[in-house]
Amino acid sequence: MTRKPKRQPHDWSQLDLQIKPREVLRVEGNQRQALETGRNRLVFTGMIFALAFCVIGFRVGDLALWQEGHEPPLARDQGEVRLETGRADIVDRNGVLLATTLPAVSLYANPRHIGDPIEAATKLAPLLEGMDEAELTAKLSSKRQFVWLKRSISPREQYSFNRLGIPGIYFQQEQRRVYPQGDLAAHVVGFAGIDNVGFAGIERSLDDALRGTSEPLKLSLDIRVQHILSEELASAMETFKGIGAAGLVMDANSGEIIAMTSLPTFDPAEPGKASKDARFNRTTLGVYEMGSVFKIFTTAMVLDRGYLTLRDGFDTSDPIRISRFTIRDYKPKKRWLSVPEIFIYSSNIGTVHMAMRAGTEVQKDFLGDLGLLSRSPLELDEMGKPIAPSPWREINTMTISYGHGIAVNSVQLAGAMAAIVNGGHLVPATLLKREEGDLPMGRKVISPETSETMRRLMRLVVTHGTGRKANAAGYLVGGKTGTADKLRGGRYDRNSRIASFLAAFPMDNPRYVIFAMIDEPKGNEATHGYATGGWVAAPVVQKVVERIGPLLGVRPQFDDLAMELENEVLLEVSTKKESQKVAAN
């Protein structure tokens, strides 16, 4: 039998590793073998443990010495706390809020939790408009688990509902789209439904972009300019008893729309209450025969393509008869007129003669170059397609030269005007803010020289011609009046017309294009019964320019370099007139 070495239970010295056995044991045979096996196992296990400790030791050394020296960046994964509203805000070019998403509370009931539907209905009915007790009782005693009682209630309402203390009435946290500017930019911003889906305007056309981010979407609009334009248009619409009005202000160089108004307008918070007419965007969706403002393009065309010079002219004494039509002047001068005179007195007859020099193909190409024959690239779904004649006959060329027989929208018109005055580059119109260095080059449509000539001619319209009421002191406004009879059942109605004014300022270096249009204005005593572009729309432009000029940092000018240039052109006009008179005699 083996005798185990005896140890004192607490004799620590026994633990010494170098202890020598005091008794020599002799173990033989099987027992010796078993002992050997046990020892081997112990050594083996010990080695494994030693190895594991070595590995851990190495790892500790490795982490302490060779890994990243600084503290582990645990905070990195926390991320920034950010308010997620599910739909991005829309702001104007200066960051003013146009549309935002606010938390809203909605009231619902779980009829199964309601003990006494009749009592609950009696209590609730006075607080819920448009629902009587019987209807409410029916709702509350239904077998469903969920019935809406009222969407988007105010905090005050929430408090009073809570005070009733009816079990089974609950509140649901929701998001609601809010438009702080009300009806001011309703047609541009549009509106979104109760489930945050865009239904009109930018809310609709950029719906995906708005949902994808919480970064605010920056429009090109300036809400101050928008207000001024709306106010002046509304006042003109009221004065002349128009059925509608539209207008826009565009940056002549970048193509950004600074303001865009369509009247009557609507409240985007309650689009359902608005009439169809109010929701109709006259600026983009409405295409109109614009009338004499098209003479800008006809004149630019013949001058730029070299068919005529400023010294040429035509006899405008006789109306032009073609098939069953007669083209007359609104206020006939009944004499020879030079090209500048035709333009500033807005002679239809003279303009038709000019267009006929260029011909149908040239006209078609030119208007196409100006983007007047294709849909505008503006970021709105409510975009009217232009209506152009097909086939394009000679008679069409004639009427289109003074803006009849072709219908375009205001955005196209302003875009083409911008190209005419900015040195000849057609820049695509946009409703999104373009950064300073991010301007598209634009397509060259006319030469800088023609652009300069056109600017002078348009300035002359305001100083000496039909657009005198648009002359905002100090801002060198230039432009062209337009008065177009509306088509009524296939015939032009002389009593319902579109009066418009297409302008740019300041004419020595145009920065903004302005378009104002009144739908079916009626003349009054102050205008001697006239309801033409010069009487109705030109004053709107004048007032708008005088108010937005200082806002937009346009420097007024009185030492008229431009005046001299005008006089130069006028001088040419008058000498030509004299010599012509002599010749006529």
Binding site: L15, Q78, L83, T85, T100, G474, P550, F558
Partner: protein, 123 residues
């Protein structure tokens, strides 16, 4: 000797364990604080968001112009009142030096300068 070493190890182990325990407690506290602060920030952001909407509602140009009509007698600046620095008339003393006037001429020039209704003199 051996006992001392062992004791030292045990003490060191205990110290490290205690330290780690305390550290992890601290971290837990900090994390709780962080969550609270984040919730607070989010609440503030929410409030700010609502206030911003209210601010721009109260500042809508339609209302501002109404208020301005009611309470202020201000009008847009007419273009005639906007001029550049270079168009400003010089101060009398500067004008004298600009004209190279002598000391004797001072009084005369000064009077002229004052009596001139709208001196749009260019140096």
């Amino acid at each position: 000797m051996t006992r001392l070493v062992l004791l030292a190890w045990i003490l060191a182990g205990g110290a490290v364990a205690g330290f780690v325990f305390q550290m992890s407690n601290e971290v837990a506290d900090l994390e709780k604080e962080l969550t609270a602060v984040e919730r607070d920030i989010l609440g503030q952001q929410r409030a700010l968001h609502v206030l911003q909407a209210e601010w721009s509602y109260l500042n809508r140009p339609t209302r501002l112009s109404e208020l301005s009509r009611k309470h202020l007698s201000l009008a847009p600046v007419p273009a005639e009142r906007v001029i550049g620095i270079s168009d400003l008339p010089l101060r009398p003393s500067e004008r004298i030096s600009a004209q190279g006037a002598t000391l004797e001429g001072f009084e005369i020039t000064k009077t002229q300068a004052i009596t001139e209704p709208q001196g749009k003199l260019k140096p």
